[in-house]
C-alpha cells in the first residue's frame, strides 16, 4: 500500500517539476502577452496597465503559485489574449481527443494481442511471417500519412467514411463512430505493430518455461495451458500498452489535424499561432499529466499482475 502511495507521490512531484520548467519557459520568452495584444507600438504605460490588469506584474513565483493553485482546483484561468476561459476550451476539447485515443487504443489491443499470441504459438509459419511484415511496416508508416491515404481510399474512393470533421455522439452514434474510425486506425496502427511484437516475444518466452512443460506433463488441455501462458505473458504487454496510451495522446494531435477534428490539437495549435502562451502552457500541462498518469498506471498494473512484485 505504501509503495503505491510512493509511486503516486513521485508522479505528482515530477508533474510539479515539469510545470515549473514549463512556467519558466513560457515566461522568459521575449515577447510579452501585452505586446501581442496591444501591438508593437503600444506605449509603456499601456503595457504596464495591461500587466497590472492581468496580474502579470507580480513576482514570478507568485504568478506560478496562483496558476498551480488554480489548476489544482480545476481552474486553468483566463487567456490574456482573448479573455476566453482556458478551462472551458480544455473541457471542450479534451474529451474529443481522449475518445480518439481510447478508440485507437482499443483497436490496437484488439488486433495486436491476438496477432502476437497466434504468431508465437505458430512461430515460423506463414502467419508469423505475415505478422512480422505487418509489424515492420506498421511501425514505419507515419500516422499522418496513413491518415491521408485512408482518406483518399476510404472517403474519396469508397465513400464509406467522412473525409474529416468530428461528429458528436448526440448527432448520431453511427455517424459519430464513422467520423472517428479512420483517425483511430491511423493513430493505432503504429501501436498494433509495437504491442503485437511485445505480445509475440512475451508469449514465445513463456512457452519455453519449465512450468509449461510441467503443465503438459500433467495432461492439461490445450485451452487450459493457453490460459496459463497468456496470464504469464501479460505483464510486459500491459506495461507497454499503458505506456502506449500516453504516447498516443501526443500523436493524436497530429492525426486530429489531418482529419480536421476539433480536439486538443486545435486548442494548442491555434494558441500557438495566436501567441497565446498561457493556453499553450495549460494544454501542455494537461497532456503531460495524462502521460504521467499512463506511465503510473503501467507501473501499478505490472505490480498488481505479478504477485511476486506486489509483496
Amino acid at each position: 500500500m505504501w509503495a503505491i502511495g510512493g509511486r503516486i507521490a513521485g508522479s505528482l512531484a515530477t508533474l510539479l517539476a515539469v510545470s515549473i520548467v514549463l512556467f519558466v519557459l513560457v515566461h522568459t520568452i521575449p515577447v510579452s502577452p501585452a505586446r501581442v495584444v496591444l501591438g508593437i507600438d503600444a506605449s509603456e504605460a499601456d503595457i504596464a496597465e495591461f500587466d497590472r490588469d492581468h496580474g502579470l506584474d507580480k513576482p514570478l513565483w507568485q504568478q506560478y503559485a496562483a496558476w498551480i493553485g488554480g489548476v489544482a482546483k480545476g481552474d486553468f484561468g483566463k487567456s490574456v489574449i482573448d479573455e476566453t476561459s482556458i478551462s472551458r476550451q480544455i473541457a471542450d476539447t479534451f474529451p474529443v481527443t481522449f475518445e480518439l485515443v481510447l478508440l485507437a487504443f482499443l483497436f490496437a489491443l484488439a488486433v495486436a494481442i491476438p496477432l502476437g499470441a497466434i504468431s508465437a504459438l505458430y512461430g515460423g509459419q506463414t502467419i508469423d511471417h505475415l505478422a512480422r511484415i505487418v509489424s515492420v511496416v506498421g511501425v514505419s508508416i507515419p500516422g499522418f500519412w496513413l491518415g491521408l491515404i485512408l482518406i483518399a481510399w476510404g472517403a474519396v474512393s469508397l465513400g464509406w467514411f467522412p473525409a474529416g470533421g468530428y461528429v458528436p455522439w448526440r448527432a448520431g452514434a453511427l455517424a459519430h463512430l464513422q467520423s472517428l474510425a479512420l483517425p483511430a486506425i491511423a493513430l493505432g496502427l503504429y501501436y498494433v505493430a509495437i504491442i503485437s511484437r511485445m505480445t509475440r516475444s512475451s508469449v514465445a518466452d513463456v512457452l519455453l518455461a519449465d512450468h509449461v512443460r510441467v503443465s503438459r506433463a500433467m495432461g492439461l488441455s490445450r485451452r487450459r495451458i493457453l490460459t496459463y501462458v497468456l496470464k504469464n505473458a501479460l505483464p510486459p504487454v500491459v506495461t507497454v500498452s499503458a505506456m502506449s496510451f500516453g504516447y498516443m495522446f501526443g500523436w493524436a494531435l497530429i492525426i486530429e489535424q489531418v482529419f480536421n477534428i476539433a480536439g486538443m490539437s486545435r486548442a494548442l495549435l491555434s494558441a500557438i499561432f495566436r501567441r497565446d502562451y498561457l493556453m499553450i502552457e495549460n494544454v501542455v500541462l494537461v497532456i503531460t499529466a495524462v502521460f504521467l498518469a499512463a506511465n503510473l498506471i503501467a507501473d501499478l498494473l505490472y505490480a498488481w499482475l505479478d504477485p511476486r512484485l506486489s509483496r
Binding site: V136, V139, V156, S202, I272, V283
Partner: protein, 290 residues
C-alpha cells in the same frame, strides 16, 4: 551465427538507409531540377519522362524536392541521436560505474526527463520560441535546430538507461577489478574497458531512434512547425498536398509519404538486424519510445 550481410533484413535495411543518406549527401548533384524553381505553367503534372514523380502545385519537380527533403529528415534524426548518445552514454556510464549519490541523482533526473511526452513538448517549444531561424551568437541556425536540441535531450533517457544497465553489469566483471588493481584511472577504465562492452544495445537503440526522429521531423513540418517553406521537406510536401487527396493528384502525396516510410523502414530493419546480430539473447527487448 549468421553474418550481418547474409541476413536479408539487414541487407534491405542497409540499402534503404544508404539510399536515404546518399540522397541527403549528394542532393546538389543528383537532383535533376532546382527544388525551389517555380514554374506555374507546369504545375500539377503527373509523372512523366521529364518529371519522374510529377510536379507540385507550384510546378516544382517533386523528385528533386524529395531528394533534397532527405536533408532535414536525416539531419534531425542523426543529430538528435548524436546529442542523445553523447549525453545518455556519459550519464548512464558514469552512473553505472561510479554508483552512489551521483547514480541516484542522475538516474532520477533521467526518469524525470522520460516523463516528458516528446511530441507535445516539441510542438510547444517550437510554438513558444517561435518558428523561424535561431540566432545564436554569430551563427544563424535554421528552425530545425530547435527540434534537434529538444528531441536530442529527450533521447537521453532511453540511451542513458540502456548504457546504465550495461555499465552496472560490466562494472562488476573480473576484468574491471583487474584493471583497478593495475592502478588504472577511473576515466581510463570507464571509457577504455567498460564502455566498449556496453555499446551494442546503444547502437541498436540509436539506430531505432533515428527512425523516430525522421517521423517527428516530418510530423512537425506537416503542422508547420518544422522546416520553413519553401525549403523542401517530406512533411511539408505532405502538408501542401493535403487538398489534392480530393482531386486525384496522387503523386503529390504518395511519393513524399513513401520517402518517409522507406527511410524509416530502412532504419528499423537495420536496427532489428543489429539487435539480432549483436545480442541475440536480448533480441526481444522492445520498448516504446514515442
Amino acid at each position: 551465427m549468421k553474418a550481418l550481410w547474409r541476413r536479408p533484413e539487414a541487407c534491405i535495411g542497409l540499402i534503404l538507409v544508404l539510399g536515404a543518406v546518399l540522397m541527403a549527401l549528394l542532393a546538389p548533384w543528383i537532383a535533376p531540377y532546382d527544388p525551389l524553381a517555380i514554374d506555374l505553367a507546369r504545375k500539377l503534372m503527373p509523372p512523366s519522362a521529364a518529371h519522374w514523380m510529377g510536379t507540385d502545385q507550384n510546378g516544382r519537380d517533386i523528385l528533386s524536392r524529395i531528394i533534397w527533403g532527405a536533408r532535414p529528415s536525416l539531419t534531425v534524426g542523426v543529430l538528435a541521436v548524436t546529442i542523445g548518445v553523447l549525453g545518455g552514454v556519459a550519464i548512464g556510464l558514469s552512473a553505472g560505474y561510479v554508483r552512489g549519490l551521483w547514480e541516484q541523482a542522475a538516474m532520477r533526473t533521467v526518469d524525470g526527463l522520460a516523463s516528458i511526452p516528446m511530441l507535445i513538448w516539441a510542438i510547444a517549444v517550437v510554438g513558444i520560441v517561435g518558428v523561424g531561424p535561431l540566432p545564436i551568437g554569430p551563427w544563424t541556425l535554421p528552425n530545425e535546430s530547435k527540434i534537434i536540441l529538444l528531441v536530442g535531450i529527450l533521447y537521453i533517457p532511453p540511451l542513458a538507461r540502456v548504457t546504465y544497465g550495461g555499465a552496472l553489469v560490466e562494472s562488476n566483471a573480473d576484468y574491471v577489478r583487474a584493471r583497478r588493481m593495475q592502478g588504472a584511472s577511473r576515466l581510463a577504465i570507464m571509457f577504455g574497458d567498460v564502455l566498449p562492452n556496453c555499446l551494442s544495445p546503444v547502437i541498436v537503440q540509436a539506430t531505432l531512434l533515428i527512425a523516430v526522429g525522421i517521423v517527428v521531423e516530418a510530423s512537425l513540418s506537416f503542422v508547420g512547425l518544422g522546416v520553413e517553406p519553401p525549403n523542401p521537406s517530406w512533411g511539408g510536401m505532405l502538408s501542401d498536398a493535403r487538398k489534392y487527396i480530393f482531386s486525384g493528384e496522387w503523386w503529390t502525396y504518395v511519393f513524399p509519404g513513401l520517402a518517409i516510410s522507406l527511410s524509416v523502414i530502412g532504419f528499423n530493419l537495420l536496427g532489428d538486424a543489429l539487435r539480432e546480430f549483436l545480442d541475440p539473447r536480448r533480441a526481444a527487448g522492445i520498448s516504446v519510445v514515442a
